[in-house]
């Protein structure tokens, strides 16, 4: 029997720098599992009754939930203040760290900005589209960045004029991110388009809007993400056809060309 892997590991020695992301992603997975864990009476027993033994997971869940209740108020306040500032700082890098602008070759320091800003943007979009059950993982975003960097560095021709927006590259990065597993669903999704596809399509649309705009403030970035999510939901049939179609990259690029200019603040 093959040995079961407990959490994703960096595929090569060269990618050891991604190791902290693996740890963060693994912890996120555990946290989501604990949050969603609903113990049944056989395993957990009745509160206040001694129907032991409890499983280790049930004990961990009980501890987690009790600790959570006690520290809820303080934690929420701290979270709101600290995480908001951290996410805002990450979002400011969203527009300039993508593959839509004419930066060749992509500087290495953009790698961190690309990963953290897309993680922050995906958090906002999953919340807005009511997909809180989806797990966002940073390591697949990082791997996608490296793949795209390699692809783009090796083929720098065909870029439009200086300062022009490269819709094709934004679309390619979105299709690659969608395939990467950066959004992981605990249950099998059968509807078309999948929630993850809508979220990534909205991410790309927001990136395109911001690339066309001169205003890259946190407020504008949040507004672009909100508007992109609203519009992508209205375009569900088109998004389904794009991801299920023959050439999703070209189709998504055409969709962004159609939608982004009218959604960009004058």
């Amino acid at each position: 029997m093959p040995k079961q892997q407990r959490f994703p590991l960096p595929p090569t020695v060269d990618d050891l720098s991604a190791a902290p992301l693996v740890v963060k992603d693994a912890l996120r997975g555990i946290r989501l599992k604990l949050r969603n864990f609903v113990p049944n009476s056989d395993e957990f027993g009745q509160i206040g009754q001694s129907r032991l033994p409890l499983s280790p997971l049930a004990i961990a869940t009980a501890l987690f939930n009790e600790t959570r209740k006690i520290s809820l108020l303080g934690e929420d306040i701290a979270r709101d203040v600290l995480f908001r500032h951290r996410d805002e700082a990450r979002l400011t890098a969203f527009a300039r760290s993508g593959f839509g602008s004419n930066v060749s070759p992509m500087p290495e320091h953009q790698r961190h900005d690309f990963v953290s800003s897309r993680y922050a943007a995906l958090k906002i979009l999953t919340r807005q589209l009511g997909a809180n059950e989806l797990l966002i993982l940073e390591q697949p975003i990082d791997m996608t960045y490296l793949t795209l960097l390699g692809r783009i560095s090796g083929n720098s021709s065909g870029f439009p004029a200086q300062n022009a927006i490269n819709f094709d590259r934004i679309a390619s990065s979105i299709v690659a991110l969608e395939k990467s597993g950066a959004l992981s669903s605990p249950k099998l999704e059968t509807q078309v388009p999948r929630l993850g596809q809508l979220i990534f399509a909205a991410l790309g649309l927001a990136e395109t809007i911001l690339a066309l705009s001169t205003n890259h403030s946190v407020e504008s970035t949040l507004a672009a993400l909100n508007l992109a999510a609203d519009v992508i939901v209205l375009r569900k049939p088109s998004i389904a056809a794009i991801f299920e179609g023959f050439d999703p990259e070209a189709q998504l690029s055409a969709e962004y060309r159609l939608l982004a200019p009218p959604l960009t603040e004058a």
Binding site: V231, L258, A266
Partner: protein, 198 residues
């Protein structure tokens, strides 16, 4: 027929580009509703998702047909305004409730329809004035309640019939048979035929 937005829209330079901006479209549409139904016995509500769906559907049609603007620019402006009207009817973002029926005007017979028509007609007239210095007269029958009744029935069957209806109000030759096929509009066909024969 009242066109309350024309003065406001005229204050907007380069309206033909501004109207392709979702935020401007939403804002000006809501303003038109506000001016069409001043506060009082009439209450109106605009569904944002439906309004945005109208805009997105119109945008697709606009992009698909914009190459025809080079054949007859004036006709293309009328067609684009008609397409916008058709999408507004299709998605129907406005709901109006009125407690009184004071007169037999379009606004009271069909408040939602008259708001859509006054908005699209206002946009078309303003763009035509800005582009061609044309000031079109709205025909007298635009105030005839029977016309509105007939228009309402037709457009409920096929929202695309809004396109030839708006053509009539703008003095443009309508195409009742294939209203959404821009290539078959009388003005486009006439110019294409002329270009081929020379």
């Amino acid at each position: 027929m009242r066109l309350p937005m024309v003065a406001e829209l005229n204050g907007e330079s380069d309206l033909r580009h501004r109207i392709r901006d979702l935020r401007f479209f939403e804002e000006s549409f809501r303003k038109n509703v506000q001016l069409t139904f001043p506060e009082g016995a009439t209450r109106s509500k605009t569904d944002q998702a439906r309004l945005r769906s109208s805009f997105l559907a119109w945008l697709e049609s606009f992009q698909a047909n914009r190459h025809l603007a080079s054949i007859d620019r004036k006709d293309f402006i009328c067609f684009s305004a008609g397409s916008m009207l058709a999408e507004l009817f299709r998605h129907d973002p406005l709901s109006v409730s009125s407690e009184t029926q004071s007169s037999e005007s379009a606004t009271t017979i069909w408040p939602e329809g008259s708001a859509y028509v006054s908005y699209c007609l206002g946009v078309a007239l303003t763009v035509l004035e800005q582009e061609f210095q044309l000031s079109a007269e709205i025909p007298e029958y635009a105030n005839d309640p029977r016309i509105w009744q007939s228009f309402k029935e037709n457009v409920q069957d096929n929202p695309d019939l809004a396109i030839p209806f708006l053509d009539m109000l703008l003095g443009q030759s309508p195409n009742w048979n294939e209203p959404s096929t821009a290539e078959n509009r009388p003005a486009v066909k006439a110019k294409s035929t002329r270009a081929l024969s020379t």
